[in-house]
């Protein structure tokens, strides 16, 4: 090979490994934290690409999802294989594959390595967590392993940045040396069948199929390739494969069992004399911790305590930060208001732009706190235990223990909850969890409940003052979504996401101290990806809703009043009663403008539809205006009832206003049944653009946010109607 010129071609390096091997730590150590994330087209698999330098070469480092094997059963799993075969257009065939394995668990990790070697790519083997292996008495002769495999073997402790430079050197060397010899681990009869299959496919006019995929076609009974790879000849292929597998079975190589047998046999033979596993596994610190954390009693108590702290953190600790966000937003609005005359541009800047940015940033505290917890729990190895503890509970709705933490987080806010579903590798389970997560009663529903409860639920108490009716109603509303989610999840698993129960075969990794660097990087990436990829959509929604509530309409009179009010507020000698009069007049104008805006007209338009729920057009407008976020209804009702911008749900003025609101014929709009119907509607509806946008981002499709909005709105409508009717009938 000629010596590399200074402008050497950039290298593409793929990083692959089992889950819990420290793959992300190595990725971060190699590439720094500046990674680009996205989705591969058409699937939910996250694409993560970093840049690094190896000597004078620029390297594009592709982080593949953690996996135990390369036997694709789903489209998501096929992406990894396609990438390694160079079939993902914008990435190209990797020049080197870096296989990271857990040095303390070599045998099982080598299963994936043997599959990677079958791909015939230059490779580097990284034995990570070599310090842990050493402490467990596992001795590995890396030099001998390297000689037997014919490729570079590097020992690292990635969390301590040990051995990272050696990995870089090994990548360059591997790129120059070319692919290592392919171990012939399958018996000759299998290789003959591969040849026969290739000939058959060629006869059907298929372009040459990579050797690895020929093997997969024979081995993966009911796998992805068998059902998707060959268009037009599906039945013939199926038939051919059945006969071929029959022949292999007769020769003592029955798929799929033959693969595990020969690969593990290869791994054992390879490790003979290279790695010594102590015959008696020493009881480690991790084992002792595990005994407590998975214990029948202490395990559950500690889990409950941990969840309580986490929940408290997302809902309460985030509060001051969210308040600070709102305060910054308000003062930014104040600054703009001081600099500009009242008019459409000022309104766009304050209510549209600043409001829109604020509605994105306000989620950041919760996202950061939740992901701090999740990253810590995952990195120290507890996350798998949480799934282990809660699995039985979740199987009742057809999900697995991995859905528990995302769903519980959704009680604080569905957005970090939905982002947390990435830990669920099964697509059907993940989709079901995403679709029911918005039903959990998030903190944005509280203001609606508080307004309605304070205004309409009598403050009676029972059991000598221990149980209040208002608290009971609030509790009932908070539980409603979760209760409804049970049958919904069950139905989704039986209809849209039905299929064989996914295996819950899960490794319980050893406990270790979390790496601050990794935790920080993960939290940073989550926050960044939320702001960049969901934030823009949330922002756009805010602008659209602002425009619908502003146009059409002549705001000149209201703007003039606004200017007068501001001037009067600045003038210490101004007449206070005169100012009150101006404010009342201005609020009235604002209310009229809202009524005649697009939003208001739409509210009138849908009045016949919301009448059966006991609502008038004003509530209809409030519901539509709260599409960006549920709590917006409080402010909108404030504007409609000519109170100006109402800040909080326990505003006595707003409570009085809703209590005294009347229909044109004079009877009261709001009654207990109406209040209950509004609360039930808000408990179940999808009035949260941010949630819908995050669903779009996580599922990589517009179909699922649309579906979520439709099913939740229908559900909310039906339940609100039933509640209204039932409450009227009862009273």
């Amino acid at each position: 090979m000629s010596s590399s010129a200074p402008t050497a071609m950039p290298l593409t390096v793929a990083l692959i490994g089992n889950p819990n091997t420290g793959k992300s730590t190595l990725f971060n150590a190699l590439s720094g934290s500046a990674a680009l994330t996205g989705n591969y087209p058409g699937v939910t698999v996250e694409k993560k690409i970093g840049k690094m330098r190896c000597g004078d070469r620029v390297v594009q480092l592709v982080d593949l999802p953690g996996t135990y094997s390369l036997s694709p059963r789903t489209l998501d799993e096929m992406v990894t294989v396609d990438l390694l075969l160079g079939r993902i257009a914008d990435i190209g065939r990797p020049d080197v594959v870096v296989c990271i394995v857990d040095a303390s668990n070599l045998e099982r990790n080598l299963y994936l390595v043997s599959q990677v070697l079958d791909l015939g790519l230059p490779a580097v083997l990284v034995l990570n967590m070599s310090d842990v292996a050493k402490s467990r008495g596992i001795v590995i002769d890396a030099g001998e392993l390297s000689r037997r495999l014919g490729l570079a073997v590097v020992m690292t402790a990635a969390h301590r940045h040990d051995g990272i430079d050696s990995v870089r050197e090994a990548i360059l060397a591997a790129a120059a040396a070319g692919p290592p010899p392919r171990p012939e681990i399958f018996p000759p009869v299998f290789r003959e069948e591969c040849g026969r299959l290739a000939a058959q496919l060629a006869e059907w006019g298929r372009p040459a199929t990579p050797d690895y995929l020929l093997g997969r076609l024979l081995l993966d009974v009911g796998g992805y390739l068998e059902t998707h790879a060959v268009n037009g000849k599906a039945r013939e292929l199926q038939h051919y494969l059945e006969t071929a597998r029959g022949r292999l079975g007769a020769a003592g190589c029955k798929p799929p069992a033959v693969e595990a047998r020969v690969r593990y046999a290869w791994a054992r033979a390879l490790l003979q004399g290279v790695a010594a596993r102590p015959t008696v596994r020493p009881a480690t610190f991790s084992d002792k911790v595990d005994r407590q954390l998975t214990h029948r009693f202490t395990g559950l108590v500690l889990f409950a305590a941990l969840m309580l702290v986490m929940f408290q953190a997302i809902s309460t600790w985030a509060e001051p930060l969210m308040e600070a966000c709102k305060a910054v937003q308000a003062s930014a609005g104040g600054v703009v208001a001081g600099l500009m005359p009242a008019g459409p541009l000022r309104s766009l800047l304050i209510d549209g732009v600043i409001g829109g940015v604020g509605s994105v940033l306000v989620f950041l505290p919760q996202i950061v706190i939740l992901f701090l917890f999740i990253a810590l729990l995952e990195d120290c190895g507890y996350m798998a235990r949480a799934a282990f503890l809660m699995d039985k509970l979740m199987t009742h709705v057809g999900l697995s223990g991995k859905s528990f933490v995302p769903l519980m987080s959704s009680f604080a806010c569905a957005i970090p909850g939905i982002m947390a579903t990435r830990v669920i590798e099964n697509r059907r389970d993940r989709m079901t969890t995403i679709l029911v997560a918005p039903l959990m009663s998030c903190s944005a529903r509280q203001p609606v409940y508080v307004l309605m409860i304070l205004a309409f639920i009598p403050a009676t108490s029972y059991l000598g003052g221990w149980v209040g009716l208002q608290a009971l109603v609030l509790f009932g509303m908070t539980c409603l979504g979760a209760v409804v989610a049970v049958p919904i999840a069950w139905v989704l698993k039986k209809t849209l996401f039905r299929g064989e129960t996914p295996p819950f075969v899960m490794e319980l990794p050893s406990y270790k101290w979390p790496s601050p660097r990794l935790v920080f990087t993960r939290v940073y990436h989550q926050a960044k990806s939320f702001v960049v990829r969901a934030g823009t959509l949330i922002f756009a929604t805010s602008i659209v809703v602002w425009a619908a509530s502003y146009f059409p309409g002549d705001h000149a009179a209201a703007d003039r009043l606004q200017t007068q009010i501001t001037a009067s507020e600045l003038d210490p000698f101004a007449d206070a009663t005169e100012r009150e009069r101006l404010i009342v007049r201005c609020n009235q104008l604002q209310s009229e403008l809202l009524e005649h805006s697009l939003l208001g007209r739409f509210g009138h338009l849908i009045e016949p539809a919301v009448r059966p729920l006991g609502w008038d057009w004003k509530i209809g407008v409030g519901v539509i205006a709260s599409f960006p976020a549920r709590e917006v209804i409080v402010g909108t009702l404030g504007t409609i009832y000519s109170l100006g911008g109402v800040e909080s749900a326990d505003d006595a003025g707003l409570q009085d206003a809703v209590r005294s609101a009347t229909w044109p014929d004079g009877h009261k709009v709001f009654s207990l049944p109406v209040a209950l119907s509004i609360m039930v509607f808000f408990a179940l509806c999808a009035q949260c653009a941010s949630t819908l946008m995050i669903i779009r981002r996580e599922t990589n499709s517009w179909r699922w946010p649309l579906f979520t909005f439709s099913y939740m709105t229908a559900l909310a409508y039906a339940a609100a109607f039933a509640t209204y009717r039932l409450a009227i009938w009862l009273s």
């Binding site: 099982r108 069992a257 593990y264 282990f388 039985k392 075969v505």
Partner: protein
């Protein structure tokens, strides 16, 4: 032949065969549950299922429905 789900906490067994060729069976084999391997039951989750096993030197969680797919030969507990 007895199956893995009948193993009691603390007991060990030798794996004979994983039954079937669906996703569950393939995953079990990929995770190292192959003929001749020793497996030990470490204990069940607080709600009774899944259970924790030691195989190939690492800890694995299996539901009873999955453990039922693994045929075993019971070996007397090591003293």
């Amino acid at each position: 032949m007895p199956t893995l789900d009948t193993l009691k906490p603390g007991e060990s067994a030798c794996i004979a065969e994983v039954v079937g060729h669906d996703a569950v069976a393939v995953r079990l084999m990929e995770m190292g549950l192959i003929e001749g391997e020793t497996i030990e039951h470490l204990g069940a989750a607080p709600l009774g299922d899944p259970a924790e096993y030691l195989v190939c030197g690492y800890r694995l969680s299996l539901r009873a429905s999955e453990a039922r797919r693994v045929q075993i030969l019971k070996v007397p507990a090591a003293s």
